[in-house]
Subunit: 149 residues, 2 copies
DNA sequence: GTTACTGCAAATAGTTTGCATGGAT
DNA sequence: ATCCATGCAAACTATTTGCAGTAAC
């Protein structure tokens, strides 16, 4: 099932209406592919393309997309949230470089199985994982080493 | 090495001064044991005990304690940060119940080794892990099941 | 004596909300 | 016709900051 129809279905299932703003948002988010984006990024992109969607609507729609599992919200150490499209993507988590800000992704079946085990043992029903490793990427670590020598 | 002397040492190493406010904060945080607390919690506790430390100082001192590794900052899904004392504690991560808000901890050597491997392979130097599982605790899941039947 | 620390209040930034109007069903 | 969605601006919340006075070294 594609993004469009998943969204329509979600809207219908909750008695939400298919409006221009919502369709544009879904479209724009699809266009962003695997990139991370903030609410503000979206507002700016809409402006640039002359299809204004207000900040309020962006935030409200993001809530719906989150509830419907079409996007994922990330906490990568900024005071604002970032989001990423969540359709047709393998589960993954993030490595964040504290020096240059680079964000890379990693996924691991072993990791997921391990956490599944943790949950099963505690009869905890996980709905959402949030895993981030903060540190220094290879390049920055290398530069740091060079400087110290 | 105990908390007090680790803190003194940290202050000294950075040319920071040992002030009343900072000592009181360290004390109060020790008294909180393994509990999680917000910046605001601390301000309130100081008020109640008649040893006022201003909000600004609380935030500024928390920064130092974080830098010195004496406390850890947690993102448990609120808009404010929570903190926990980080001395004499085994590494652990958190399970957060989205229904009742209960937070439980879990630690796993296997998990740490696994993530170490991920980092080594990418030559990423991890400084800090942030792992949260959001979902439903055993009790809430049970109640949910009961209600649906 | 020098320099760092503190408290206050104001500033900041991201996000949320009330309300009047417009649009989907 | 109903009731949900939108835009605007104002509200809100956690956190940060400038500054003038105070305390540690």
């Amino acid at each position: 099932m594609n993004r469009q129809s998943r969204f329509s279905q979600f809207l219908e299932s909750r008695n939400l209406r298919s409006t221009a703003g919502r369709r544009v948002m879904l479209q724009e988010i699809s266009a962003l592919g695997e990139r991370h984006f903030s609410a503000e990024d979206l507002v700016a992109r809409f402006r640039r393309r002359g299809r204004a969607v207000s900040r309020a609507t962006v935030y409200r729609t993001l809530e719906h997309l989150l509830a419907g599992g079409l996007v994922r919200r990330l906490s990568l150490g900024h005071k604002h949230s970032l989001y990423e499209s969540n359709l047709g993507r393998r589960h993954h988590e993030h490595l964040i470089c504290l020096r240059c800000g680079e964000v890379t992704e990693f996924g691991s079946g072993t990791l997921e199985r391990l956490l599944d085990g943790v949950c099963r043992r505690r009869r905890f029903v996980a709905q959402r994982l949030s895993i981030q490793l903060f540190g220094m990427c290879a390049r920055c670590a290398e530069e740091g080493r060079a400087k110290r020598n």
